[in-house]
């Protein structure tokens, strides 16, 4: 691990301005050598791109944190593990400043979306897990985000597969419903009757 991640990970010395240390965030932080003629050497360009990437990451990383917590067992996860999962599961694409995870977790806890428990072994860590209310919030947001990604995919000429054999997205509120529970008749967010959709997929008998 250590050979790939070294101290200068965040700091790159610009050959042109020798002593100036630059901090690169988000995607462009992977750039290790800065060519003074490259577009990325322009502060104006860098600032703008960084700002926009941070904006885009903000909402998405929140969703991903919730997704990781939803998949975790009842014990929950501590902050460090959440970040590790986040980095690994997103192929090191979604990297947030690690310290900022804790304020995000605190806000989620304030809003009753997650709950925390102190570790009993004596380490001063907290274990975070999602609440029932949080699960509902997450399903709804995940549904919204999935449908949104699908809808905007043509704009970027990419394909998005919503795995409709596994999930149903409520036609009214986009809530993401897992198709494992065949007793389901209504969307638990908006109350829409989903029997018709289930029948169309042959999942419900007449």
């Amino acid at each position: 691990m250590y050979d790939t991640v070294f101290i200068e990970h965040y700091f790159i010395y610009n050959k042109k301005y020798k002593n100036e240390i630059m901090e690169l965030k988000n995607m462009i932080k992977r750039v290790k050598e800065l060519d003074s003629s490259a577009l990325i050497a322009s502060k104006e360009f860098r600032d703008y791109v960084e700002k926009q990437e941070t904006e885009i990451n903000r909402g998405i990383s929140l969703l991903c944190i919730l997704s990781i917590l939803t998949q975790a067992d009842e014990e929950g996860l501590h902050g460090y593990k959440i970040l590790k999962d986040l980095t690994e599961k997103t192929n090191e694409m979604l990297v947030i400043e690690e310290g900022t995870l804790y304020p995000i977790l605190r806000k989620l806890e304030d809003d009753n979306i997650i709950k925390s428990k102190r570790e009993e072994s004596g380490r001063r860590r907290k274990f975070y897990s999602i609440t029932d209310y949080g699960k509902k919030i997450f399903n709804h947001l995940a549904g919204f985000y999935s449908k949104l990604t699908e809808a905007i995919a043509p704009l970027y000429d990419i394909n998005v597969n919503l795995k409709s054999e596994k999930y149903l997205f409520c036609p009214m509120c986009a809530n993401k419903i897992e198709l494992t529970n065949l007793e389901l008749r209504f969307c638990d967010v908006c109350g829409h009757n989903i029997e018709k959709e289930l029948k169309e997929r042959g999942l419900k008998n007449e």
Partner: protein, 351 residues
């Protein structure tokens, strides 16, 4: 590398984070929790980065650089309001409330001080109105500027109104909210709190009854020995005052009996009350101008006889000032009635 050195680097970083954290987090235990968690994180990361499971000075430094700048962490804690102009939506109602209260106090103080000045003959009527307008203008403008700056600053720091409440109160409010949800009591959209009842019937009934009793007492004045000592003109004023008090008492009693329903009737009753209160001011003004007939009844100890000694002339101005304050109080309670009429409008959905 010595462990002490690594510890020092981490402690230095945490110290910087602590100094940047917003004040509302300074609920000490919370601070400690946050820093403890960050410290654990740095150690875990440093252990992993070193590759050997043992943190090194280099891996600690690297772990810290991964944490991000103290400012970024603090900024994330501060980022929690919903923008509305320069003051967040969450702080907006508190902002309007503080402005309202401060303006009311400034207007009240300005009017009362000018009323006292005019009573003592320090200023004439023209000066009186000029002073009031000037006082209100300057007072409201300066406080508006100060309060606005404070609220913009609080919004930027990510304050919420509940940060000014103790943990105990916050928990109590949470319980009340739960109870209200169970009982189906409507919850205010803005304040996120159960709607308070419009009136407390018991208070109105008791208050009304006392006013009725006192009003009847003033009208009848059933102590003949005292009655004969009082100037007939003053007796008439007293009876009028009693009559107004009686009417107000009856109106209050009625509001108490109606309780938290028929809000239109409440509005009508408050409307009548305003009329009665304004009429009663005339009686106070009449009394104010006749300090010489105001009775002060004393009991002479030797013979146990009661006499009316009246007010000494040098105290007339104080007498007038007291009357002025009474008028101001009546005016303030009249404003309250107007406010209640406005407030009842919001409760009409309850039916």
């Amino acid at each position: 590398m010595s462990e002490k050195e690594m510890n020092n680097i981490i402690k230095e970083y945490l110290k910087q984070v602590k100094s940047k954290l917003p004040e509302w987090l300074k609920d000490k235990k919370e601070h400690k929790d946050i820093l403890d968690e960050l410290e654990e994180h740095i150690w875990s990361k440093a252990e992993e980065l070193s590759g050997t499971g043992q943190p090194t000075l280099q891996s600690v430094e690297s772990a810290i650089s991964h944490m991000g700048k103290p400012e970024s962490i603090a900024r994330e804690y501060k980022r929690r309001g919903t923008p509305k102009y320069y003051i967040t939506e969450e702080m907006w109602p508190a902002y309007l409330k503080v402005l309202g209260i401060v303006f009311a106090v400034i207007i009240g103080i300005t009017i009362v001080s000018q009323v006292i000045d005019i009573i003592f003959g320090n200023i004439d009527i023209g000066q009186f109105f000029l002073n009031i307008i000037q006082g209100i203008q300057i007072g409201c403008l300066t406080t508006f500027a100060i309060i606005t700056i404070i609220f913009v600053a609080l919004s930027m720091e990510g304050y919420f109104p509940e940060d000014f409440k103790s943990k105990k109160i916050r928990e109590k409010e949470k319980q009340q909210l739960q109870l209200a949800q169970e009982q189906g009591i409507p919850i205010s959209e803005i304040k996120k709190r159960p709607v308070k009842p419009f009136i407390k019937p018991a208070g109105e009934i008791i208050g009304g009854s006392i006013a009725i009793a006192f009003g009847i007492f003033l009208i009848l004045l059933p102590i003949p020995a005292v009655r004969t000592l009082i100037n007939p003109e003053f007796l008439l004023y007293l009876q009028f005052a009693g009559l107004f008090l009686l009417i107000e008492g009856i109106l209050d009693l009625n509001r108490g009996l109606i309780g938290n329903r028929q809000f239109f009737t409440h509005q009508i009753i408050h409307g009548i009350t305003i009329g009665v209160k304004l009429a009663s001011i005339s009686v106070v003004i009449l009394m104010m101008n006749r300090p010489e007939i105001f009775p002060i009844i004393v009991v002479d100890t030797p013979g146990a006889t009661i006499t009316n000694i009246g007010i000494a002339e040098e105290y007339y101005n104080i007498f007038r000032a007291i009357a002025g304050v009474i008028i101001a109080v009546i005016v303030l309670t009249t404003i309250e009635d107007f406010y209640k009429i406005y407030k009842a409008e919001k409760y009409k959905f309850l039916k």
